[in-house]
Symmetry: D2
Subunit: 390 residues, 4 copies
């Protein structure tokens, strides 16, 4: 493969401060790695050729920092951005770490906690705008329950909507060039999370005051935890024009949130995902929300990050080769892939319906057809393996 | 518990012809039970006190029946309905059994199969209307893929929408008093199904020509297969006014579609579900889409059906007792359950946002609160067990 | 139900220091509750009527404590035990928290880490013996991989066996009255753990120098994560005389390790489990390895613990009522439950095999039987609901 | 890659009559493909270069065939074997399809069904021996329950053991050169199956009269359904010398039994599996227990089969290239992969234990090490992609 495997700014690869820099803490163990300052993080991104950086409010400025400390951190961060050309591609707010959010943030049963959550989000939006982030993500990690008795879900959805409507209005009022993106997740850390999937979040968005301002930030790991096809979900989000941002990582079905290196687990799914993003001309950030294995240490974390981008580029090259392979095109023709783009019956009319009802079909004949899906699927494997790619 | 455990028509309990009457065939074994005629099925429902019956077009009139045979079957069916007072609560069309649908129905890659599917659905709608079914369900069992290479999902969604728009227009054109309900399912029999969850289906409905005509028929087993909370999903459907019909059964997470007897597996989830349906005044059918264990035989299948209704009624009684238990009310108060119904910040204004941003909060103080969710949850268990229900 | 719902010492209910006392830390949030000293923990257990306490070496004496500090803690702990009559029912060692174990303990690729792990376990065994713990548990939380390339699994199993053989020999050499119990878990915190289920651990035990010294400590949550039937697994462990200890809690299938309150989720499975433990006369500790919801605070944690025991007792009472219910006995008879205890063919002989091969069977007749499993299963639900229990 | 991708007899690739020849029936649809006669099946295998064929008793000779019909079928089958050189690599018995087995076979509650099951197995063993099958597989598809109330599991395990002991004795008595292999599966078609995993089956085997005669036939799909690592499970089976046979196919976690084309889904897992089989010199059949997608038709099914073998060979070539890549060897060295083969402490002695307990370790220093697992894992991906394979 003569294809480019090193990143360029136009690839729009981005990483969050909490990703490569994850300390390695987990439910059964302590941190295994030291923290990295935001400015050093940006310089690291510059070195590996990444384009963007994202942050939670508290990743950038630790809670409790004085105004002077905050100013110093932001100044250093800004300098590193200027120095490297790395851009802020997304900002978000941490409404899950502090114990005050243990019952939820926008949907906490405590009205004071809910007010604090909105207040914190307002300030985080200001910070996002200050650094020019075009997208502000909401991951409602604590918006859920362990016991269904503890919240009446219709109330919870009312409160969730209220918060997003309020914050949307704020963004407009301030004239910020920001859109919101909801990041769904089915469970963990809560037993059951509100807005658990791409679908539920998209349905919810339709009920907001201004649905056009809010889209999705789907994450490979989150849909995959529930065994849902991330590829199909992202496709529906694109179809409904709601793919505002995307979190790339990897995951096994039916487990704790693993945030594995993109391309390291669901290889075939990842191939189709990259092909979809490339085919549809998705132009937002390709944001890696993964963390190095907990036994990674030292410079290994930057190698991990660089390899995430390399794998994406390799899959993009394979997707292009697949699309232009005559054997693939022939198998796709036999499978009728393009025939699915043709309208079936067109616009309704009384006459067309009457004719269609009266039409004689021969189901046995329709059944006696090979769709050649095994051949087509084997070509996917051959391309992933590099067998058809001379 | 002095509560009523025998069904009344007002309970609106319904069963499909394919449920109690399932032949016991599975992927690894042949039928274990003989078929029941539609008319005998209705008489059986009458005997156990069920209110409604539902059917697929092919359950009622087998494909290939002559007009005379079809007339006879329908006449017998009508007589049994008249005789027993059982009503037709829902109709649907079988677009999954015949091998011609092996690549999909509305989303088959073969345009002729797609046309046949719409034609068959038109005729099934006529039959549904003929028997006064107020709801027509679409379960797109074959609308999906094993290999993602075989369909471009944006085309598939276009075709799915085209079919539903056409069929909606037909219903209006005919003046039928019918609404549509989509039944989502994540997988099986296809590897990945389009519109896999309540959320995805609700989001899709927003894109239809007339979203008001289309709602949902969520099924316990289908959401549970993916490990999603059926209770939370149904709550969101109610919140978005899309709960048109419901399929009650039971299921273990992460398995083949089990269609177990309602209340036989996810007891706690079922308790909350019944409580929600009762609390929100859901007035549609309570439709049991379950089948007896494959080693059930003879009259056992009717006992199975009667017990499905009994369990629902027992859970409804427990839900009422739970709601009126002072210990529950006190624990709910401590948990802040009702406080979640209070608006957090109300309508946006520039001034209120400025004030909220400036407000000082004490997160540590907010964190030092017990929400008493363990107590509340134990009361759920106590009520399920009948310990608090003297 | 006139049955006893308050615990007695003979119930052998036990709790680990890390369970009720869990700080509420999770992967996405900080501690929500203050620590409790071991002595205060024991006094709390005394107040709620628990019989036993268990600990990890580091729960009792924090790593880095001086000899004087360790002596003081142990003395206080001993005093609390004496004062309350609570016994030490199990001890174990923490080989997962410290970052040095990030690649494994007995199966770390670093030989020095492996030596340290065995050294730490030896000292923890001494502490267990000092407090009279009859069982020493090994949960190999870090014994696994994220990338299968990182360990050759046959080597890993060699090292695991080597460690257990060495430690077994030590126990005998010291004359301690201790048996070992392996606690299997499929994943989390590692991607894939060695000895993932009850079955794998039992098979492994057969390869040890002294299999009789090593049994199992199965945990509800761990088998349930993988969707396996905990009930069937425990039954096989009893059948193979390997149930040395048991961890009671609760869990949804296909999720992060939830460690929910026993009886709060898989109610029906829990009913069968309690029935099995009571029927087979299991005489070991009933050890609750659960933790309060993270939003629990203050005295709520003790209420949570007391309710765990109450639920067990309620299920035991229901199991007794179920077993003695004539309707259950009749349904069980119809189901042939007792007929499964009869030998099928007895000992092999050439003649009996020849006769059996030549025998004519009528499969159709054998198929035409109702096993009444739906009736029997409904009686389970009725008993759980308290409907048959007047 | 200049490696061989076409099969040779020494590869020992085998297919069952029910695999390529699966009719495409599923729980929601009818057969989509016509049956193939056993003789034609063997000729098809010959054409694609497969080495072996396997069968259930009823696949070869349909139940109810007369002696003359059976003789004809067997004669034709034998001729096809002779003609093509294809060998019978395994035989088994179908104890799941007929409705008489609806409650189980060896563990049915009906003693007459149990006797019939053993009788049928005896005759199937004769047929297996007649065709020289070296392995006889037991998949206990119906050995399980939907309701745990329906069988006391200790009785079920007694009956399971009784049947296998009897059949083992028969094989020896007849002087057949046959070994048994148990094929575990967690669920489907029963709610919960006895001996659900590799581990449970291996533990059970230890209780048989002659454990040496019974090993395992693990299947990719079956362990994967439960989210267990098939690779780790097979490794443990090899470690315990119980890998007698293997079923290669593919599957997504947490779903119905998919029996997908080998290498089409869990690509990375499949890479490690093939590497393990090649590394350990596994010399049994590589048996593909998969079926073409249901929309496959005509000659496509043979292309599907040929591609299964091609993918195996491609992965084997990649495994060899991986093992001999200096970059991999260096990363493995940094990861300490080979250091795990070194004994940790050796044989126990009182003195060595005392020394080990007294030894001072520096956990912080042990923690400050990079294991380079991310680098090693990326090299796996690079090799799968063919990036390092110039």
């Amino acid at each position: 493969m003569s294809e480019r495997l090193t990143p360029l700014p136009e690839d729009k690869f981005a990483f969050g401060l909490w990703t490569i820099g994850h300390l390695g803490r987990d439910p059964f163990g302590d941190a295994t790695r030291p923290p990295i300052s935001p400015a050093d993080f940006v310089r690291g991104l510059g070195r590996i050729g990444a384009w963007g950086v994202s942050f939670h409010d508290d990743d950038l400025v630790p809670p409790g920092a004085t105004a002077a400390e905050a100013g110093k951190i932001k100044g250093d961060f800004r300098s590193a951005l200027d120095e490297t050309g790395v851009v802020v591609s997304m900002a978000t707010t941490n409404l899950f770490w502090h114990p005050c959010f243990k019952d939820g943030a926008f949907t906490s049963n405590d009205p004071e906690v809910r007010r604090y959550a909105i207040s914190k989000a307002l300030r985080a939006i200001d910070t996002g705008a200050e650094f020019g982030a075009p997208t502000f993500v909401f991951w409602g990690g604590r918006e859920g329950v362990e016991s269904a008795a503890s919240k009446y879900p219709l109330d919870a959805l009312d409160r969730y909507r209220e918060a997003l409507n309020y914050l949307s209005a704020y963004v407009k009022d301030q004239g910020y060039q920001l859109r919101f993106a909801i990041e769904p997740k089915p469970n963990e850390p809560r037993g059951d999370t509100f807005l658990p999937t791409i679908g539920h979040a998209m349905a919810f968005i339709q009920t907001l005051d201004d649905p056009s301002m809010v889209g999705l930030n789907p994450e490979v790991a989150h849909e995959t935890m529930a065994g849902l096809s991330f590829y199909q979900g992202v496709a529906q989000a694109i179809w409904q024009e709601k793919l505002f941002h995307i979190d790339l990582n990897d995951q096994k079905i039916g487990r704790y949130d693993q945030d594995l290196r993109f391309g390291s687990e669901g290889i075939k799914d990842d191939f189709f995902l990259v092909r979809l993003l490339e085919l549809t001309g998705y132009s937002g950030p390709k944001h890696f929300d993964s963390r190095p294995y907990r036994n990674e240490y030292g410079d290994g974390i930057w190698e991990f990050a660089a390899n995430s981008m390399k794998t994406y580029l390799a899959l993009a090259a394979k997707a292009r080769a697949f699309n232009s392979d005559p054997a693939v095109q022939q198998a796709a023709e036999l499978a009728g892939v393009n025939a699915l783009a043709e309208p079936t019956v067109g616009k309704f009319s009384t006459a067309s319906a009457a004719a269609l009802k009266a039409e004689k079909f021969d189901p046995e004949k329709l059944a006696a057809r090979n769709y050649f899906n095994e051949r087509l699927d084997q070509l996917v494997i051959d391309h992933i393996f590099g067998l058809n790619n001379k």
